[in-house]
C-alpha cells in the first residue's frame, strides 16, 4: 500500500513537472525596444512599445501582410469601393468573437471609430491618419487652434463624438465615406488607430486593456517591469503556438544583449556598438536578424535661417557628407545611403537617383559663391539618442574636409522637441520611420501640416505650392506607374531645393533565439507572437 502511494506521488510529481516544463516551453520572453508602453489602448498608441502590445492584442478591419506589408482581410473579410473611390463598404467576417466571448458586429466598428473623437482618451496620430479623410471627422474632433497666436488653446466646442462618415449598414456591414478619394485608405486602416474594440470597452486612461479580437489578451501590466500576455481562448483564427508572453522593460540595449546571452530573453535588441562582437561569435551571429526599415534619417532645415535659407549652403552640406563611411563605421553596415526621400522597398525608390554624390570641389565652389570662401560654421541639433549622436559626429568629421565646421548640439529629448517645434535651430536630426508603406507618408516630411515644419518655413518656400499640388494629386491616383511618377517628381523638386538633407535609410538588428521559428519579427519590424513556431 505504501509503495503504491509512493508511486502515485512520484507519477504525480513527474506529471506536474512535465506540465510545468511544457508551459515553460510554450512561453516566450522578449523586451520592449524603447522603454515601456504608455498605454494599452490602441486608440492612444503612439510609441513602438505601445504598438507591440496593440498589434498582438487587437486587430483592425484590415491587417498588413507580414511579408509584403500590403493590406489583407482581417476582421473585414471583403469590401467594395464605389467608382468615385469615396465609399467603402466592409463586410465583417462571420464567427469573430472578442476575447470576452461576445460577437463582433458593425456597432463595434462604429463605436471604435466614434470613440477616437473623444479628446479625453488621448487619441494618437495614427487615429488621425486613419480618419482624417473620412466625412465628419473634422466636425467630431475638438476645434483646432489658429497657428501663430500664442498658446494654442482649443475653443470649448464639445465634440460631436459621432463621425457621420462611418455608418452601420447591417449587422455585419459598415460603410465609410471619404471626403476625397484616398488610395492609401486601406493601408491606413491597418494602423492601430483603426483597431476595433468591443462596444463599451476601453477606459479613459489607457491602463485597462480594451476588449479586442486579437490572438492574445493582456494579463498584467506591472509598471516599469513587464507586460504579460496570454493566448486568447476565444481567438477566431488559428490558435497560436506561443501560449504565454512576457514583455519586459529593459531600456538599456546592452543589458538586453546580456540577458539574451544569459538565456533569459528570446528576442533582444542588437545595438550597433555590440554588432562587431555579435558577428564574431558563431552562436550569436547565427541568431542575428537584420531587417531593413522603411525609414529616412535626415536633417530638417530651418528654411528661414539666414545661412540655411540659402540653397547653395544646403546643397554644399548635402554634397559634403560621406554617407557610406558613416554607415560602415557607425552603423556597422546597418543601412544604405539616402539620396532622396524613398527607401528601397517602396515602388517609388529609384536606385539611379543620386543628387548628392560626394563632390568636395563642388562644395567649395558653392560655399565661395554663397560668400563663405574660407569655410562655414553650422550647428545641427539632436536629442541624446546614442546612435544619432555618433552619426552626427562622424558626419561632422566628413564635412570638415570640405571646410564645413559642423557643431553637434545634443540636448534632452524634451528640450530638442520643443526647440524643433519652434524651429529655433539651423537644422535638426529627424529619425523618420514610415507609419505605413506608401510614398505619401514620406512626403509628409516636406508638408507644412505641423507646427515644426510651418515654423521652419516649409509652407513659405517657393516650391511649397508645387509640392502640395502634386501631393494632392498623387494621394488620389490608383497605385501604379502614374502615381509613382508623381511622387518621384515631388522627390526631385524637394532634393533640387534641398528641403531636407537625407543621410541614410536604416535597418534594425535583433537577436532572435534559435528556438523561435516561423516569423518572429515581420517585415515591419514588429514582433508577432502568433507567427512564431517553437522549435
Amino acid at each position: 500500500m505504501r509503495r503504491l502511494a509512493f508511486s502515485v506521488l512520484i507519477i504525480g510529481l513527474l506529471t506536474v513537472f512535465a506540465v510545468s516544463v511544457a508551459a515553460q516551453d510554450a512561453s516566450v520572453t522578449v523586451a520592449f525596444a524603447e522603454s515601456q508602453p504608455t498605454t494599452l489602448d490602441p486608440a492612444a498608441a503612439r510609441t513602438n512599445d505601445d504598438f507591440l502590445v496593440s498589434r498582438n492584442v487587437c486587430e483592425g478591419l484590415l491587417a498588413y501582410d507580414p511579408v509584403t506589408l500590403t493590406p489583407v482581410p482581417a476582421l473585414a473579410e471583403s469590401w467594395t469601393v464605389s467608382e468615385d473611390g469615396l465609399v467603402y463598404t466592409f463586410t465583417l467576417r462571420d464567427g469573430v468573437t472578442f476575447s470576452d466571448g461576445s460577437a463582433l458586429d458593425a456597432a463595434d466598428v462604429k463605436y471604435s471609430f466614434d470613440r477616437l473623437s473623444d479628446p479625453d482618451i488621448g487619441t494618437s496620430y495614427t487615429a488621425g491618419l486613419v480618419l482624417r479623410d473620412v466625412v465628419g471627422w473634422a466636425e467630431a474632433r475638438p476645434a483646432a487652434p489658429r497657428v501663430g497666436e500664442g498658446t494654442p488653446t482649443p475653443e470649448p466646442i464639445p465634440p460631436a463624438r459621432a463621425i457621420s462618415g462611418v455608418e452601420v449598414v447591417a449587422d455585419n456591414q459598415v460603410r465609410i465615406t471619404l471626403s476625397r478619394p484616398i488610395t492609401s485608405f486601406l493601408t491606413r486602416l491597418t494602423l492601430p488607430g483603426g483597431f476595433i474594440i468591443a462596444e463599451g470597452s476601453g477606459g479613459a486612461d489607457g491602463t485597462v486593456p480594451p476588449v479586442c479580437t486579437g490572438p492574445y489578451v493582456v494579463e498584467e501590466w506591472s509598471q516599469n517591469n513587464y507586460v504579460r500576455l496570454s493566448a486568447n481562448p476565444n481567438y477566431w483564427g488559428e490558435a497560436p503556438e506561443v501560449q504565454e508572453v512576457t514583455i519586459r522593460v529593459i531600456p538599456e540595449a546592452s543589458s538586453q544583449v546580456i540577458e539574451f546571452e544569459a538565456g533569459s530573453l528570446d528576442i533582444s535588441l542588437a545595438p550597433e556598438a555590440d554588432l562587431p562582437r555579435i558577428r564574431s561569435d558563431a552562436t550569436l551571429s547565427a541568431q542575428l536578424v537584420t531587417i531593413p526599415t522603411l525609414s529616412n534619417y535626415n536633417l530638417r532645415i530651418n528654411l528661414n535661417d539666414p545661412k540655411m535659407g540659402d540653397v547653395r549652403i544646403r546643397r554644399a552640406l548635402a554634397l559634403a557628407i560621406n554617407r557610406q563611411l558613416i554607415i560602415d563605421t557607425v552603423l556597422q553596415g546597418n543601412g544604405v545611403p539616402a539620396d532622396g526621400l524613398y527607401p528601397p522597398g517602396l515602388t517609388t525608390f529609384d536606385p539611379d537617383f543620386a543628387p548628392f554624390e560626394r563632390d568636395l570641389d563642388e562644395v567649395r565652389r558653392l560655399l565661395t559663391e554663397a560668400g563663405y570662401p574660407n569655410g562655414i560654421e553650422l550647428t545641427v541639433r539632436t536629442d541624446q539618442n546614442e546612435t544619432e549622436n555618433r552619426v552626427l559626429n562622424a558626419m561632422a568629421a566628413t564635412v570638415a574636409e570640405a571646410g564645413i565646421t559642423l557643431i553637434v548640439n545634443s540636448t534632452e529629448a524634451s528640450v530638442y522637441t520643443q526647440d524643433r517645434t519652434a524651429c529655433t535651430m539651423e537644422m535638426g536630426g529627424i529619425r523618420w520611420t514610415m507609419d505605413y508603406p506608401d510614398p505619401e507618408n514620406m512626403v509628409v516630411l516636406l508638408l507644412p501640416n505641423a507646427a515644426t515644419r510651418i515654423n521652419c518655413g516649409y509652407g513659405t518656400v517657393d516650391v511649397a505650392p508645387q509640392i502640395e499640388a502634386l501631393y494632392n494629386q498623387g494621394i488620389s491616383l490608383p497605385l501604379g506607374a502614374e502615381r509613382d511618377a508623381v511622387f518621384r517628381e515631388i522627390e526631385r523638386i524637394a532634393m533640387d531645393a534641398v528641403l531636407i538633407i537625407p543621410v541614410y535609410h536604416g535597418a534594425a538588428s535583433r537577436l532572435v533565439s534559435s528556438r523561435l521559428g516561423g516569423m518572429p519579427i515581420d517585415n515591419n519590424g514588429t514582433i508577432r507572437f502568433a507567427l512564431m513556431d517553437l522549435q
Partner: protein, 306 residues
C-alpha cells in the same frame, strides 16, 4: 518627547510646502514641453492643442498650481501625463521595490561595513586595517554604474549564477543590492573605524581592560556602545540617500523602483509624476531624519528631548 515629536512633525509642513512649490516651479522652468514630447514629430496642431488641453497645461501657471496643489492636499497626486495612471498608484507600486532594495543594501552595508571597521580599528595599522582601507577607497571611488555592469557580466553572464536584471524573486535583489551597498559600506566602515579608534583611546576602555574584562566584552559593551552615535547618524542619512541613490542601480538593473520612475518622469516632463515622487522622497528623508533623532536617546542616554 511627545512634544518634541509633535514639534518636529509640525516643522514638516512648511518644509513639504516649500519643496512642493520649488518642484512645481523648477520642473516647469526646465525647457521642454510635455505635450510636444507626447505628440513628437507626427502630431498636427489640432492634436497638439487637444493634448495640451487634456493635460491641463494650457491653463495659466497659477491656475495649474492651484489645481495640482488643492488635489495634493486632498491626497490626490494627479495622473501621469505619460501612462495616465494615478501617480499615487505608480508610487504605491514602485515604493515597496525601492524600499526592499534600499533595506537589503543597507543590511549588506551594515553587516559588512561595521564589523570590518571594528576589525580595522582593533588591528590598527595591520594588514587587515590596510586591506579595509583599500576596500573603503575602492568603495567610494567606483562609479555605481560601472560596478553594476561588472557584476552583471561576472555573475550573470560568465558564471550564470544570478539574474542580470528584473524583479520578482529574491535572486533578482542580490546584484542590485550589492551594487547599491558598496558606497555606503565604505562610508560606514570608515566611520566605524575612526569612532572605534577614538573610543579605544578613552580612559574607560583602559579601566575596563585593567579590570580584566575579556576583549569581546571590552569591544562589545564598552567600545561599541560609545562609538555608535556617529555610526547611527551616518546610518540614518545613509539609508535615506540609499533610497534615492538606488536611482542609477535601478536603471542599470531594470529594477522597477521609484528612482527609475523619477528619471523617466523628468526626461518626459511628466509634471504630476515628478511632483509626486519628489514629495515622497522628501517625506522619506524627513521621516528617516526624525527616526535617527529619536534613536539618539537610546544610543546615548545623556541625550534627552524635552
Amino acid at each position: 518627547m511627545l512634544r518634541y515629536l509633535i514639534a518636529r512633525l509640525v516643522q514638516f509642513i512648511p518644509t513639504l510646502l516649500g519643496i512642493y512649490v520649488l518642484t512645481f516651479v523648477m520642473i516647469r522652468v526646465l525647457p521642454g514641453d510635455p505635450a510636444q514630447f507626447l505628440e513628437g514629430d507626427r502630431g498636427d496642431e489640432q492634436s497638439l492643442a487637444a493634448t495640451r488641453a487634456r493635460l491641463g497645461i494650457d491653463e495659466p501657471l497659477t491656475t495649474q498650481f492651484w489645481i495640482f496643489f488643492s488635489d495634493a492636499v486632498r491626497g490626490d497626486l494627479g495622473r501621469s501625463f505619460i501612462t495616465r495612471r494615478p501617480v499615487a498608484d505608480m508610487i504605491a507600486q514602485t515604493f515597496p521595490n525601492t524600499a526592499v532594495l534600499g533595506i537589503c543594501a543597507m543590511l549588506i552595508a551594515v553587516g559588512i561595513g561595521i564589523p570590518l571597521g571594528i576589525v580595522a580599528a582593533i588591528a590598527h595599522n595591520s594588514i587587515w586595517d590596510n586591506l579595509s582601507r583599500l576596500i573603503a577607497l575602492i568603495g567610494v571611488s567606483i562609479p555605481v554604474f560601472w560596478l553594476g555592469l561588472q557584476l552583471q557580466i561576472i555573475f550573470g553572464l560568465s558564471l550564470r549564477l544570478l539574474p542580470v536584471s528584473g524583479s520578482g524573486q529574491p535572486a533578482h535583489l542580490v546584484l542590485p543590492s550589492v551594487a547599491a551597498s558598496f558606497g555606503m559600506l565604505a562610508v560606514l566602515m570608515r566611520i566605524t573605524r575612526s569612532s572605534a579608534l577614538e573610543a579605544l583611546t578613552q580612559d574607560y576602555i583602559r579601566t575596563a581592560r585593567s579590570k580584566g574584562l575579556t576583549q569581546r566584552r571590552v569591544i562589545g559593551r564598552h567600545m561599541l556602545s560609545n562609538a555608535l552615535l556617529p555610526i547611527v547618524t551616518v546610518w540614518g542619512t545613509g539609508l535615506a540617500s540609499l533610497l534615492s541613490g538606488t536611482l542609477l542601480v535601478e536603471v542599470i538593473f531594470s529594477y522597477p523602483g521609484m528612482g527609475r520612475l523619477l528619471v523617466d518622469s523628468i526626461a518626459s516632463r511628466d509634471y504630476p509624476s515628478v511632483q509626486g515622487l519628489v514629495i515622497t522622497f522628501a517625506l522619506i528623508y524627513a521621516g528617516l531624519n526624525l527616526l535617527v533623532d529619536l534613536l539618539y536617546p537610546l544610543v546615548d542616554p545623556r541625550i534627552r528631548y524635552t
